[in-house]
Structure formats: C-alpha cells, structure tokens
C-alpha cells in the first residue's frame, strides 16, 4: 500500500444511504487520517449511526464511494472488519456468556488463537475495570458496566480504527471520565477513533476534528475551537427574567435587547446574548432598564454552535 493512502483511513465521497424511499444519509464527504480522533455531532435521526454502520462494513453503501484503509467495503468486508473495532449504539453483548467469555469468544470470531484470546481478555478486563466481575453473566451487569464491556470487546483484535457510536450515553459522570481517559490513552497509542455523541463537552474534550450533521448532510466541519469561532461568539450571556402574568415573553425581551452583543436568542425560559465581551453586554442590558433575575456570563461551547446549526429542535 502506498504511504499516501496508508495514512487515509476513511475516505467518503457523496456517500448516501437509503432505506427504501427514505434517504437517511444524503451525500457525505469525509476524510479521516491515521491517529485522528474524529467526531460526528448531530440531532436524533441525523444519520450518524447509518454512516457508522457503512464505515463498519456492515451496512451496504447506497450511493457514492467509500474506502476504508483504501479498500472497498463491498469487496473487502471481512478484511476491513478484521482491522476495525466497533462499539454499536445498542449493546450486542452475548447474554448467554459471562463477561470473561464474551471477550474470549469474540476474539475467536477474529480467528485469534485461543491462548492469545485468553491473554488479551485478562488485559482488557483490567482496562475496563471489570476483573472482579469476570465470571458474572452479562445480564447482571449495570448499564455502564455493559458499555465498558462493549468497549473492551471492541479492542480484542487490537484495531487500527475504532468506531464508537454514542459510547458514553447512559454513563454516570465517573464512568464517562474513566472512558474519556481510556479513549485518550488509546489515541496516544495511535488508535484512530471515530465517535458519535450528543454531548458537546465530550466532543470538545476529545475530538481533534468533527462534523455536524443534520438530516443526512454535513452542515459544518472543523476543530471544536474553529467551529466555536466561526459559528458563535467568544462568550455567551444567559439572562433569566422573572416569569409573572402579564410580563413580557422571552421573545419580546429579546426584541427589546436588539443590538446588544452580536446576536440575541429567545429560549423558553431564557434569553441568550452572543457577545465577545459578556460583561460589557450585561452593562448594556442594565442601561436599558431591564432587570433579569439572574445573569450568567460563560464561554461559548460547541452546544451553542450545535443549536445554531441544527435549529432549536429537541436534542438530548
């Protein structure tokens, strides 16, 4: 394999996915390089999982081209899958096996020798902090433990490319941080990772580069910092006003704040003001004789970018 293509692990052009009449992925262009931690951000039903399943060489491509490790998943499916680790959105753990057997037997599907499977299983149990539950049946694990086991299982074949579909959904904060730490360690070991998430802090913390997708299309692309500078201001001022009968709605308040900061946004319970200097904007609010219950100046986050790009729809 040539050095240039060797570095490009995922390459997609005009990638589409149709389910019958419905087009879930509508022409996506991607390039993920070795060593990167790449993120997909998008609201429910945006097409993140559909794209991940195509990259995992499980779901057939409906249109466009896709190359994984420079290979076509249609013709090299088993070879590609042998070099991938996959953590699906919904756990597909083997409920009839114990924790330890789940890892060991999964290694066998990759045709690894039994002794090797045993060795790696011990290692991964340690990695996922599940050693003391090695003999438990999967059903008796908590949701977070199952998630950790799924991730440990995806590493049994020492993948070059790890695909994680919402790896931390449903985890408590400790488990989430433990997982971030593990993913970071893997990155340092040179494992390329692609993850989808709804958590902005996660995307901000982990991803070198990410795309925001909405309704099957890429609507923005860049590093978390780039996206924030491009689609938001440096700071955000959050204002809460007393909700009394007859008092102005947030939309009316936002109108009254016209010209403060670079943009105003009315939410159900708050008004957001996007400004490079939040304190200065707050001074302006007071000058206009408006008395919010509370005012908070914070740094802009990816969440602001995300909400602006995908509209204020329901996102979890």
């Amino acid at each position: 394999m040539a050095a240039a293509t060797d570095d490009l692990l995922i390459e997609a052009r005009g990638l589409t996915k149709r389910f019958g009449e419905f087009e879930a992925v509508r022409g996506i262009d991607l390039a993920v390089h070795r060593g990167e931690l790449f993120g997909f951000l998008g609201p429910n039903g945006a097409g993140k999982s559909s794209t991940m399943r195509m990259i995992a060489a499980v779901s057939p491509v409906s249109g466009g081209t896709l190359r994984i490790f420079g290979l076509d998943p249609r013709t090299h499916g088993p070879h590609i899958r042998g070099r991938l680790g996959v953590v699906p959105q919904l756990d597909t753990l083997d409920q009839e096996l114990s924790v330890e057997e789940n890892l060991r037997i999964y290694g066998r599907y990759f045709d690894l020798p039994r002794a090797e499977c045993r060795r790696r299983t011990a290692e991964l149990l340690e990695f996922a902090r599940l050693s003391d539950r090695a003999g438990s049946v999967v059903d008796t694990l908590s949701g977070g433990m199952k998630r950790r086991l799924s991730i440990a299982r995806s590493l049994i074949n020492r993948p070059e490319l790890l695909l994680l579909d919402e790896p931390t959904t449903g985890l408590d904060p400790q488990a989430r941080h433990l997982l971030w730490d593990r993913l970071y360690r893997l990155k340092q070991e040179g494992v390329t990772q692609v993850l989808t998430t709804h958590y902005m802090d996660e995307a901000e913390q982990l991803c070198d580069r990410l795309v925001v997708i909405d309704e099957g299309r890429i609507v923005a692309e860049g590093s978390p910092r780039q996206l924030i500078t491009q689609y938001s201001t440096r700071e955000v001022l959050e204002l809460r006003f007393p909700a009394r009968d007859g008092s102005a709605s947030t939309a009316e308040l936002a109108d009254q704040l016209g010209g403060v900061g670079s943009r105003q946004e009315a939410l159900a319970d708050r008004v957001l003001i996007y400004a490079d200097d939040g304190e200065h904007a707050l001074g302006e609010v007071h000058r206009r004789q408006l008395r919010p219950d509370s005012a908070l100046v914070r740094r802009a986050t990816l969440e602001d970018v995300f909400l602006q790009l995908t509209g204020r729809s329901l996102v979890d």
Binding site: F19, L97, F110
Partner: protein, 245 residues
C-alpha cells in the same frame, strides 16, 4: 460459532437432555403397548417386528427434533432478542459463516439425540446389521435439512406467536412420513408422503437399520442433499437481508 455455543450450553445441558427423552418415551410405549397388538411388518421384503419398524423412524424423528429445537427457538432468541448476530457480523465473520455455524450446531444437537437413540436401540436388541452404523450419516442428513429449514423459517418469523407454525409443520410431518405405518398404507395419498423430507430420512434409516439395500435409497439421499444445500444457501441470504440493512 460452534465454539461459542459449546461454551454457552455448558450451563444448559438439562434442556438438551430433556429433548432426547421425548422420542425415547414413544419407543418404550411402543414396545410395551402397541407393539404387542400389532403384527410384523416387512421392510424391503424382510419381516420385522413393529418395534423394529418404528424405532428407526423415531431415530430420524429425534434427529429432526434436535435440529429444529435449536434452529427455531434458539435462533429466534439470538436473532431478535439478544442481537447476537449483529455483534458477530461486526467481525470478519460473514452471514454465510453465521448460517453454517448455527445450522451446524443445530445439526450436532440432532445428531446427539440420534446417536443416543441408536445406542438405546442397540441395547434393546432392535439392531441386527452393521449397516446400522450408516444410520448416523443418514440422520446427520436429516438433521442438516431440518436445521437449515428451521433456520430459514425462523428468519421469516416476526415474533414468538409465529413459532406455532413450527408445530403446525412438524406434527403432520410425523404422521405423513411413514413413521408409524408402512408407506403402502397411505393408499392413493402415497405420493404426498414423498413430499415430506422426514419420509426420505425415515426410509433411509429404516433400510439401513434392517440391513436392506435398494436403489430407492439413492433417491432418498439425493432428495436430502439437494434440500439441505438449497436451505443453507437460502438461510445465509436471509441473514444477509435481515441484518445488513
């Protein structure tokens, strides 16, 4: 795949053992009851007692049952409830590997029943010829056919209520496969018997157990092999359609 099931089923040996007793009880009741009331029957021109007549058919039936239990109910759980195959297909394993693995496992289970059955038959003095050893490959063919058919049928099922169709299909099969009476007894419905895959297995195993050879056996083998190959191919296609959307 098979290795996975071996590990999983170490905990469930009781279920497996229980499946074996069903045809065995049939056989015992035949020997003690019905067998005394019914006279001898001929197999390939040779007279045999009724128990000797029925036992090979029950051996074929137990191979069928073992294979069907596993390829329907258990496959259903793995497919719809555990999402086991989704996990497996994320590895280098292909849908064909999954189909072959699970059909192979169901076949093994049928074979386990059939083999134990053969041992019991021998112990009861119902086996007279060394050709009876060939009943094992014959029952394997029966198991293969039903494992693959069961697997394919399961892939079309939407939920547990559909499972009843398995009984709907196997009960008449048991009745119309010359299991309990000679094929001549079906009169003008005799052609219908030929449509039952189980019949071809029963006929094979019966001849082999009695040590009788006939050209018609080649036809039975051919029918079983062709059915098995077609069913395995269809089963792999179904897995592909279902899980790789």
């Amino acid at each position: 795949m098979v290795e996975r099931h071996l590990v999983a089923y170490r905990r469930m040996w009781l279920i497996i053992v229980s499946g074996f007793f069903e045809p065995l009880f049939y056989l015992l009741s035949m020997r003690l009851g019905v067998g005394r009331l019914v006279g001898d029957v001929t197999v390939g021109g040779r007279p045999v007692t009724y128990v000797e007549f029925v036992a090979p058919a029950l051996m074929a039936t137990s191979a069928m049952n073992g294979a069907i239990y596993d390829s329907t109910g258990n496959v259903m759980v793995r497919l719809r409830q555990m999402h086991l195959y989704d996990g497996v297909l994320a590895t280098p394993m292909t849908p064909a590997d999954v189909a072959v693995g699970d059909i192979g496992w169901a076949l093994l289970r049928g074979q386990l029943y059939a083999a134990s059955f053969l041992v019991v038959m021998t112990a009861m003095g119902l086996v007279h010829s060394w050709s009876a050893l060939l009943t094992l490959p014959a029952s394997a063919a029966v198991g293969l056919v039903f494992a693959a058919l069961g697997f394919t049928a399961t892939s079309y099922m939407r939920g547990w209520p559909d499972m009843d169709w398995v009984t709907v299909a196997t009960m008449p099969m048991l009745m119309f496969s010359a299991t309990f009476f000679p094929v001549e007894a079906y009169g003008r419905w005799r052609w219908a018997v030929n449509l039952s895959p189980l019949y071809h297995g029963v006929a094979m195993i019966r001849s082999l157990a009695a040590g009788v050879w006939a050209w018609s056996m080649l036809i039975h083998v051919a029918v079983l092999v062709v059915l098995a190959v077609v069913a395995v191919v269809v089963a792999a296609r179904r897995i592909d359609r279902l899980l790789r959307a």
